[in-house]
């Protein structure tokens, strides 16, 4: 059994490769839910949905969220009522959020609904939210006038396009969050734990911060292998650089290695970063070089193969 820790787009692309090289039913994915947010009264789980849609082959090919071929009729209708619609939810995508919100109101857990949605899309790997409790990433930013302000993750990332300078990141509710059913058991039983190429601060960070998760990984460090989301000093997609830098992490595969060293024995870095392999090793992490830019599912499959081989 394989377990993968996952955020959004980067993770989803990696997982699409992974299920080409191992039986999908052998894969459990533990997904970040600290980006979850309520929009217009609807409960949105961006990372769970991105992973689900991508594994179903239904994701939007360019933008980092939502479904292919979306329309935005309902968002336009909400504009009439003066609603903030900067988080653009497509009409097909809204079906998912309406369904999830109704199920949660009926008393279902995020885990249960995630499984139902995955099943509806024919997704075979087991998708687990990191927790069924509410955890919310809050980004403290420094405004131009020096004032500090606490933003919700999506406000910082989507509404303000990750422009405000980050001073701190917190995961509200994390201290009392319990791992979702199956999370710790899966990590204990996994032959290999893969850390997908996701944002180390706000995608992998919250999963690691769920009480109990980091401890299991530390004990199983030799079976943990990560893929650096940073290539040549920049993230492939998303705002990792705008979080790692201000929070004191070097924006490089070496910075990732140092952040993960405590619980991750091996890190896959991009072939363009080969000259940094020694520094990764110096951080106590075994460096493996591969092509990590997942331009298509074939490349993603090769990367997944390399990643598994690195700890075979």
């Amino acid at each position: 059994m394989l377990v993968a820790l996952a955020g959004g787009v980067g993770a989803a692309r990696f997982l699409r490769g992974l299920v080409r090289v191992v039986p999908p039913e052998d894969v459990t994915v533990i997904v970040n839910t600290a980006d979850d947010e309520v929009f217009h009264g609807l409960y949105v789980c961006p990372d769970l949905d991105t992973v689900t849609y991508t594994l179903a082959g239904a994701e939007h090919p360019e933008q980092g969220w939502g479904l292919a071929g979306e329309t935005f009729v309902t968002m336009d209708a909400l504009d009439r009522y003066g609603q903030d619609t900067w988080f653009r939810l497509g009409d097909r995508d809204l079906g998912t959020h309406i369904y999830r919100t109704e199920r949660l109101a009926e008393g279902a857990t995020v885990s249960e609904v995630a499984a139902e949605i995955a099943r509806a899309w024919g997704v075979v790997p087991r998708l687990l939210p990191m927790t069924d409790d509410r955890v919310a990433t809050r980004v403290t930013v420094s405004r131009d006038d020096g004032r500090r302000e606490v933003l919700k993750m999506q406000e910082w990332f989507v509404r303000e396009r990750a422009n405000p300078v980050v001073a701190a990141v917190d995961f509200d509710g994390i201290e009392t969050a319990r791992p979702a059913p199956g999370v710790l058991a899966a990590l204990e039983a996994a032959e290999t734990v893969l850390i997908c190429p996701s944002n180390p601060v706000i995608s992998i960070g919250p999963i690691l911060a769920v009480p109990g998760v980091r401890e299991v990984l530390r004990r199983r460090r030799d079976r943990v292998v990560g893929v650096s989301p940073i290539i040549a000093g920049a993230p492939v997609k998303g705002p990792a650089d705008r979080l790692m830098g201000p929070l004191g992490m070097e924006v490089s595969c070496v910075g990732v290695a140092r952040a993960y060293a405590e619980f991750c024995g091996t890190l896959v870095i991009d072939s363009g970063d080969e000259q940094r392999a020694r520094e990764v090793e110096a951080a106590g992490v075994h460096a493996v070089v591969a092509d990590t830019l997942m331009t298509d599912a074939r490349v993603a499959a090769a990367l997944a193969r390399h990643t598994l081989d690195a700890v075979a």
Copy 2:
């Protein structure tokens, strides 16, 4: 000031005519909310929305609900999750229901939200729900095997196309429902109270059954004028015949007159029903003959003019 009691399509068409012959700001509409229902966790007020959309000139031209030019992408998406989607909510229309549901969750009343939605559509007449409390029409039907079953109004009307034979109609919650703010005062102060050509049983019936409403109308009987929704023994639209008949009312303008006689001094009947005028008068209701089939807004305006003149 004029006050109109309104259900859905027939009322909306009449009101569109009315605001052509009187200043729209002089009109208060008291709208049935006993058909309100929660679909997919979203609070839908069919009659309020039909009146709002029609007064805004945005209603679907043929079907008796929703907006012109609708798409149904979100409904199709909900099908994937095995949801019952026989009540087809269009993508634009969903904006209204999402907005209302969020506002109600924030603590707003149905009245407040109805006013906000009307304002957003540029609708000038004041739209009041009959009550801010939850009232729900329940239709007891007799199945073919003799079994009785209680259906929600929309289940009977939309899902089962008004086919099951009706044994009884109840308005759950009506005993404790309070008239919405302004309802009784508007009825007391109205120069004329118009009963729109709506279903007497399930559209006008619930409004009359809100504690206090019937009493005011009874006292002001001379200022109350109705328009028969029944022409030549059949409703223009909707299932009035399938409710009036089984509940012991004659399906005719005479049946309407008898049902309204206690609180309605004048009834406008269709020119095709002229030969029934005497029977209407025999029921104690002054009969006025006019063209009541509102094929367009011009005809509706002429009907509104006639109706007002009948009690001038």
